[in-house]
């Protein structure tokens, strides 16, 4: 009795080939039936740059630093996101808001520097959960390729939500 690694092994058919198998042509026809059948099969490949698969609704991608409806940055540089980050990808530097910056920052303290290293980040979303000010969110995009490691360290200007026209007019009206 030969030693079997598993019970799933099928015994090999060692009978000599019969006539139909030996003339080989029916085998070719059978093979052609399989391969030609694939002409009508759906191809799983997506033409990537033109067609993109939708992400799941819970996908966690690149971070964004949120603004309020008047266009002011919400972040108050409390450091809870950095503290909660298991990969230690977030660093920041706080600064005090000047009286003439009321229209730029929502809180009295704001993040003068804010960096996320996308090579360290594991996109767990804990920063998003830790934030008491609704300031950081994970979006549905992912970090594009880059040539250097430095390119993956996203600065504040890469992260903060771009101003809409509406926000700009509101900011200007507050300033005056």
């Amino acid at each position: 009795m030969p030693y079997n690694i598993s019970h799933k092994a099928k015994p090999v058919d060692r009978r000599p080939m019969n006539f139909m198998e030996r003339i080989y042509l029916p085998g070719i026809a059978k093979g052609l039936k399989v391969t030609l059948g694939h002409i009508f099969q759906k191809r799983p490949t997506v033409n990537y740059p033109e067609v993109k698969r939708p992400f799941s609704s819970t996908f966690r991608g690149l971070h964004i630093l949120n603004r309020d409806e008047e266009g002011r940055e919400r972040c108050t540089a409390c450091g809870l996101c950095a503290l909660s980050c298991p990969a230690e990808a977030i660093t920041m530097e706080a600064a005090e808001r000047k009286p003439d910056e009321m229209h730029l920052y929502r809180e009295e303290k704001y993040a003068a520097q804010y960096e996320i290293n996308m090579l360290r980040c594991i996109f767990c979303g804990l920063c998003e959960e830790a934030c008491p000010k609704d300031a950081i969110y994970l979006t549905q995009t992912f970090a594009p390729a880059n040539y250097t490691r430095e390119g993956f360290i996203y600065k504040k200007e890469d992260l903060v939500l771009p101003l809409t026209e509406e926000m700009k007019t509101k900011q200007n009206s507050h300033q005056n």
Partner: protein, 358 residues
Amino acid sequence: MILLALTLSLVLEKVILISVILGASLGIAMYSTWAERKVAAIMQDRRGPNRAGPFGLFQPLADGVKLFLKEEIIPTVSSKFLFVLGPSLAMLMACMTSAVIPWGPDIPKADGGVISLQVADINIGVLFIFGVVSLGVYGIMIGGWASNNKFSLLSGLRAASQAISYELAMGISLIAMVMMTGSLSLREIVEQQHGFWQDGWFTWNFFKQPLAFIIFIVCAFAELNRAPFDLAECESELIGGYHTEYSSMKLGFYLFAEYINMFISSVILSSLFFGGYNYPFMDIVAANVSPLLVSIIGVLVLLGKAIGFILFFMFIRWTIPRFRYDQLMNLGWKSLIPLALINMLVTGAVILYFFSPK
């Protein structure tokens, strides 16, 4: 006795015909590479080339440009003359076979003569094809030898012995057919397959000699060095085989020669066994349209059949695994040659007993 009356119009006709045929076979070979990749992709549920142009149709052009611009490497230990001769010979022989193929019915001229759509109507057309095809393997042999690489040499040896083994069966299978047609001229053979149905039986040779067709097409696969008989270039054993050391357009010539050969043998297969430019109800068509159109339809029918065979070659390549070398030799010597001999004997006996003039 005038053997060949050379007139300016004749020379002009032939030059135009040759350039058209060469251009067409190069173009079809070019797009065969594209079609091969597409066929492979479709059979494996992939998409294939689709970046260059619509459906990737400019891919062969991009490949051609790439091959031309690549660095040309000639190994220092190779014999340089033979190294260059190899791919040139392969390409030359691939292009030469098209000379005796009748591409379509004659086009009548205004002055009563005809323009023949065949470069040379020699009365030994079939023999000519065999001769040129067997010369084609010299390209591979010389290339494999001149590379001074053991894999190339092994591949050259394999290609040569394979070609010799299968040429025998191929020739014998055709003898049976030639006994029926009574002519070696391709024009004659094609004309005998006129229409599709006559006197209660098909006119096409495939229905008269099915066994010869099967033997012939198996041998054609072997002669073309295509899967499942591509032992001369099997990557898993011999790296690239005879073109291991080749680069740039010399490699391109080898690859291209294979595709031209495939096109030409598809045309030969359709001419010998599937009626060439003949098609069912062709007499009704001929009675109703102009003679020029008849010729054009004939050419298109022949090309359609050839493209069908090319696709068949490709389907087979992406379906069947490669033969082992001893299996290849067993199939050639122990199966195909006896089968071809029996076929020849039976055909001869039938002709002698039933069709010989009393």
